[in-house]
């Protein structure tokens, strides 16, 4: 069932959706709301990057913070020490992350299933420790602030939050486009085959190690772009935020809750989780620690126990039931 192009209806829906997203900051002016939209787009993008490898090939990494951090640090070091624009630094960070994924993948892919997951946690933590310890090239534990240049679009700094919104919206569109292309290509089928049963996939001639290496490189590259964006957005970097375990957790969580191995899963998952978290914070205040992750973990458990296909599965089922009930038109 290889679908080559987009149908006219899907194309129309996508165009309308994109138009709404572009118009959103023109209508909504509250910077609090824009901030939430930016978070949703950012984590949708990180989830999309994770989903390429974690979702389609079921290589369940909990160490994507490694690439987020490498992207963030590469562009920041280039900017502060060499005055290179973060736009270039962003691509450089992506390339550094891609190169780093080769040895990390070489080590971690020796293990399968849960022990692959543990190895990815360990590599991300090890990178964080390295950046904490070696202060000569990366400011150690204190981190550093990004010099504020006012409105400097060429240095990825903007006065209006809406501009950041468009940058991260652009990233998400790129991420979804890449996912969509891979999903329809032979690589997508190889990935799904590896995810279903790696030994069986190899037996029918899929070069699993190569495919896993390639998708890990793509996934790392995209995750690193998010790291650069986030640092530019909050004007600050330190090892604890750049390599935060929470980044790794959320990347996996939004994909699983939304629908693992589906194009729109990470987006739907992020919308649900981030909205819940925002509502909780406005209801309880942010004074009590742990509320957000308690709720996230309950949602994750509920999804795993009752609906492992995620919200996408739930929506598809509801749609099919509705479609069946509707009498066929002549």
């Amino acid at each position: 069932m290889i679908r080559h192009g987009l149908s006219a209806r899907t194309f129309l829906l996508l165009a309308i959706g994109l138009a709404v997203m572009i118009a959103l900051p023109l209508v909504v002016k509250s910077s609090f709301a824009i901030d939430i939209f930016i978070r949703i787009l950012l984590f949708s993008f990180i989830g999309t990057a994770w989903n390429l490898m974690g979702g389609y090939a079921k290589q369940l990494s909990l160490g994507h913070a490694a690439y987020f951090g490498l992207g963030a640090y590469t562009s920041t070091i280039l900017q502060i020490d060499f005055s290179v624009s973060p736009w270039i630094g962003m691509i450089a960070g992506g390339i550094v992350a891609m190169l780093a994924s080769l040895p990390i993948g070489w080590l971690c892919f020796r293990l399968r299933g849960p022990y692959f997951t543990i190895a990815t946690i360990a590599t991300a933590q090890a990178l964080m420790l390295i950046f904490l310890k070696f202060r000569d090239f990366a400011w150690g534990a204190e981190g550093t602030t990004i010099p504020n240049l006012g409105n400097a679009p060429l240095m990825m700094q903007f006065e209006s939050k809406a501009a950041y919104y468009y940058v991260v919206l652009g990233l998400l569109v790129v991420g979804l486009a890449i996912t969509s292309i891979i999903e329809r290509s032979w690589m997508g089928y190889y990935l799904v085959a590896i995810g279903e049963d790696e030994d069986a996939a190899e037996a029918i001639g899929v070069n699993a190690p190569r495919i896993k290496r390639d998708i890990y490189m793509i996934s790392s590259f995209l995750t690193a772009l998010a790291g650069t964006f986030y640092t530019q957005y909050i004007y600050f970097i330190d090892p604890a935020t750049a390599f935060s375990f929470n980044i790794s957790i959320e990347a996996a969580l939004v994909s699983i809750v939304g629908g693992i191995g589906t194009l729109w899963g990470p987006v739907i998952g992020t919308v649900l989780l981030e909205t819940t978290s925002t509502l909780l914070q406005s209801w309880l205040g942010s004074s009590i620690g742990g509320v957000q992750l308690t709720v996230y973990s309950l949602i994750l458990m509920a999804v795993i126990l009752w609906r492992p296909t995620g919200l996408i599965g739930l929506i598809t089922e509801a749609w099919q039931r509705y479609a069946k009930r509707k009498p066929a038109r002549a």
Binding site: G113, Y115, K133, L293, S297, L305
Partner: protein, 288 residues
């Protein structure tokens, strides 16, 4: 010079006993039920909080609270297997990994909400006591913890090798399908495995309390060690996990002594990465 090394080795060996209790639990669950329990560290944390509250409210010595934490966590283990893990056992990795991972997140953040991030300590009469052996310094509380940990590990080994239930567990670990054909009830065996593993984590919590602070994230320290020890000691192998834990305790302590106070974990990660690079099946393992 010689004494500094010996002191570091002793410190590492003593804390390695606690790592062993945690890793034996992880490896037992992995061997028998074939899942990785990401929440094992959080059960150490629960054991510590139970000991802390018993000591704080009723003045119960943390070592005596072993008799409360171990049965309590055994029951929790049986419940976790029966109501949660049983429902995700299947060929699919994702639910198995993320169920116990979600459980870990849940327990950790519930603890953060209920008890705040404050450090809780219990002071006992032997907390500051130590034996002096030549120039060496052996803290009493750590020595007791190490002794009890070895005793419990030995008891588990005897249980696995002499009792019918223990043999059934080892049989289920070797080949679940054949064990079922021999009339072993897998859910019962899995419940006992989870119960024992969590009881060991609870014991680790009680043993730690006289010399270690309880806080919501405390389990993360131990579970990371346990994962590395379990890979190093060959997955599912109880004796391997025990030996690897002691080695890791020593390696971490030498790392703190010679690389820097914040570098214990770096040494541990380096050990994990080296193991993965050169002997991914663990020290005593054969190719899978």
């Amino acid at each position: 010079m010689w004494e500094t090394v010996a002191q570091a080795v002793i410190n590492g060996l003593l804390i390695g006993g606690i790592y062993a209790l945690v890793s034996i639990g992880v490896t037992l669950i992995f061997g028998v039920v074939k899942i990785v329990n990401f929440a094992q560290g959080e059960f150490v944390m629960i054991g510590m909080y139970i000991s802390f509250f018993l000591a704080n409210q009723f003045g119960l010595d943390p070592l005596l609270s072993l008799f409360v934490t171990m049965p309590a966590l055994f029951v929790i283990g049986v419940l976790v297997q029966h109501f949660l893990i049983r429902r995700v056992l299947g060929p699919n990795d994702m639910p198995q990994i993320f169920l116990t991972f979600a459980l870990s997140l849940l327990l950790l953040n519930l603890a953060l909400m209920l008890f705040t991030a404050n450090y809780r300590t219990v002071h006992t009469s032997y907390s500051d006591e130590a034996f002096h052996l030549g120039g060496l310094y052996i803290p009493e509380a750590k020595l007791i913890a190490f002794g009890v940990a070895m005793l419990l590990s030995g008891a588990l080994w005897v249980f696995l090798h002499t009792t019918d239930l223990g043999k059934a567990m080892r049989a289920a670990a070797q080949n679940r399908d054949v064990a079922m054909l021999m009339g072993i009830n897998p859910n019962r065996v899995f419940c006992v495995a989870l119960g024992i593993a969590l009881a060991l984590a609870g014991a680790a919590g009680s043993l730690l309390m006289p010399f270690y602070s309880a806080y919501p994230f405390v389990g993360q320290v131990f579970v990371l060690m346990a994962f590395v020890a379990v890979v190093l000691g060959t997955l599912g192998n109880v004796m391997g996990a025990l030996i690897a834990s002691l080695m890791m305790g020593i390696a971490e302590s030498l790392g703190i002594q010679y690389v820097g106070a914040d570098s214990g974990l770096i040494v541990v990660f380096a050990m994990l990465l080296l193991t993965l690079a050169f002997k991914p099946t663990g020290l005593g393992g054969k190719a899978r």
